[in-house]
Symmetry: C2
Subunit: 441 residues, 2 copies
């Protein structure tokens, strides 16, 4: 586990004033990576770091001498269009060197010349267009919230909501890498087979029960060879950083297709991720013990157990989902908070997910994305998808302007946010993961 | 559908005599692509074409002027290490131009100078080392044999072997792309959670019920954009070619982990593919009607129906699985034929699989691999995996030297073969897909 050090000091301030406000997602203690260019231009994409209301364009700062070769390689790609796979593999030591140097040039101690160079390379976030931060080889989605699994299970299998493997196996399945898209990408409502009437043949129609799922993703930095496994205490050295994930789900397609091999077309039409990748080092102050199991619950098997994981494997990351309908936008009504949950309530830690994934010798590769599955808590207002919030559509939500929702309608925008806060530390945020629903084609 | 033309003429002969033997997999009518180098050297990999007992090294033939730029681009990569994605997208017209020119230089009509150039660039297959023919973005595995689905279903759900969606939905799920390996790669027995005793906790142990699955794969040539679909009559224009696939399966891990989201660690430790990619054009003479549904079976929904698919969507490709144990190798006993099946018995065609996959707007990409699922037929000797052949281990197989098998043992080699034959045409083959089991680490 990464230790808390001077880069987490809450008294560190930046000479960029917007990084010092209480509510910024990107204080100097965060410094998440992204890939961006200026919106509306055809210029090449480049590596950026979020700071206050800006993205710092890293490459020209390197050219001007602000980073040495070693600390810079973590942030630059051979082709500069995404985070460099070969550099990500060297994580975490180079990443730490980059973080330390970035803090120096952004802190109040930076000299005038440094500030002038940085200033030239700050792009306001609202003028930036974001791109996939990395080429994703394989995408795996887990199912690690016991509250989500129990809720969903009790709708589909009332007598037997939680299957017997759940408390032993971090359940996961392979998702589709090609359709992972960056926040802001419009989501076309999928068509698919729907068999809502069990006495009639299915129909191929536009999805009627379109849903989101509030998840957290993590990128593999260093991989492992085929046939090798990764011990739990080594697992986090293989994680480059975290982002927000919206695992869009077509519930009617899912209900009809998912047996016996799992969800397929219900999921692979789109998965949205937030543009900023928050590093494991930035998250160090917010690590918490792994989920406390009930007395009657089995302990994890040996390969999924370690003292470090037990003490620090969890993460206190608050997640929020907001909805703004087309009508709300027209009426200037702010996005409405649908739920608030926290990754500390996940039954399995991210380290356990990664270790389980490689436990059979499966080769994880730099740039792979893994996601937690829907993060739901114990209470109703912490349910991370509409399936749970509206109990399969039977308890519609009421919105501030009187509209109601069972599932998503065309024109609805889902906005996800995430942040960590703790007494004695600066709050850090994940930015946003957004997506608007377009009608089926 | 690609029509039968003069390149399929059975009277075409090559000046390379081994391509004219009755039992060669690679007559001049086939010309499958591969990526190879000379075994034991560190030379770069290059694009090859199978012809008789040889692989033709294509690039130096191009350099020597035997191919024009256009017909050559189909076979050469910008980086030459695998089939070029941008060239694959141009399929099928460029592929046809390449095929025609390759037949000219390999046929008996080729002049002396052409033969001299080709001769210099023929590498005996048994001196070649093969590599992945293409970078696979996403790998999807289907479940398209109704005989396999019924057999497996009746073991796990005796009252309800075939689920109600089967005859409407080409059931598929996402596999792991990173662990798809080339034929000949040794397969390490995976470890995983096994709960053979339902009254005790699971144990993390080496897989006890290791199996193969005989499948056929197809590579996407031209992709589609996110949000777009692919009509059934266009589907085959998106397919570059076919190979053999062994979807190694850990049945004990699978039984415990697969609910509710499908197989995961039971499959993603390795999937083997044969090195030669047989093109759609080479397969033209062997197309047959789609599977004939029973009178009581529903017709496919409109998006999965077309006259062309009905008439020519199937493929008459015979598949064979052989086993050679370590003891058989020591005793010089030939590999033993375990089963023989045929893709014409698949309930869904490859066109239907691809169209279904993109029907929700999922973006297929050049280089994606899709596989059919285990190809089993109606009879016992056509069952495409040990799970079916030994009926979950309850009816062990007897081998010629008196050994028996419920599932695979360490040292066992599984060898898969495939070929098409039809009166009036030359037989064409797929080569082999091999893998030896190593003990768990």
């Amino acid at each position: 586990m990464i230790e808390i050090n001077e880069t987490h000091d809450q008294n560190l301030k930046s000479w960029i004033e917007s990084a010092n406000t209480a509510d910024t997602d990107f204080p100097i203690q965060n410094l998440p990576f992204c890939v961006f260019n200026r919106a509306g231009t055809y210029e090449n994409t480049r590596i950026g770091v979020g700071i206050g209301d800006f993205v710092l364009d890293v490459y020209p700062c390197y050219e001007a001498g602000l980073f040495d070769d070693e600390s810079f390689t973590i942030a630059v790609a051979a082709h500069n269009y995404c985070l460099d796979h070969s550099a990500m593999k060297k994580n975490p030591s180079l990443q730490r060197a980059f973080r330390r140097r970035a803090i120096e040039i952004l802190s109040k101690n930076a000299d005038e010349q440094t500030r002038r160079i940085v200033q030239r390379n700050l792009i306001p976030i609202n003028e930036a267009e974001f791109w996939m931060p990395v080429h994703i080889g394989d995408y795996t989605d887990f199912y690690c919230s016991i509250f989500h699994a129990t809720n969903v299970g009790s709708m589909f299998r009332p007598d037997n909501p939680l299957l017997p493997n759940y408390k032993y196996v971090p359940i996961g399945y392979h998702g589709r890498a090609s359709s992972v898209v960056i926040s802001g990408t419009e989501i076309t409502r999928p068509k698919g087979q729907n068999r809502s009437d069990a006495d009639a043949p299915p129909q191929f129609v536009a999805c009627k029960n379109l849903d989101y799922e509030m998840e957290v993703g993590f990128f593999v930095g260093k991989g492992n060879e085929l046939g090798e496994s990764v011990s739990l205490d080594e697992a986090e050295e293989h994680i480059f950083g975290l982002c927000l994930v919206n695992d869009w789900s077509a519930r009617d397609i899912q209900a009809w297709e998912y047996q016996p091999l799992g969800p397929f077309l219900a999921k692979n039409f789109a998965t949205s991720i937030s543009p900023f990748v928050v590093t494991m080092e930035a998250l160090a102050p917010f690590r918490v013990p792994a989920f406390k199991r009930d007395g009657g619950d089995p302990q994890p098997l040996d390969y999924l157990s370690s003292e470090n994981n037990q003490k620090f494997g969890g993460l206190d990351l608050t997640l929020e989902v907001y909805l703004q309908t087309e009508k709300m936008r027209d009426e200037n009504i702010e996005p409405f908070l649908l739920s608030r949950s926290n990754t500390k309530d996940l039954y399995w830690t991210i380290g356990q997910m990664l270790t389980h994934h490689a436990s059979n010798g499966c080769n994880l590769q730099t740039g792979d994305l893994m996601a937690t599955g829907t993060v739901s808590g114990d209470s109703k207002d912490s349910r991370g998808c509409l399936l749970e919030l509206t109990w399969r559509g039977t308890e519609p939500l009421e919105l501030p302007n009187g509209e109601t929702r069972r599932f998503l309608e065309d024109g609805d925008e889902v906005i996800m946010k995430g942040f960590c806060e703790k007494e004695g530390f600066r709050r850090i945020g994940f930015g946003e993961c957004r997506g608007v629903i377009l009608p089926a084609e």
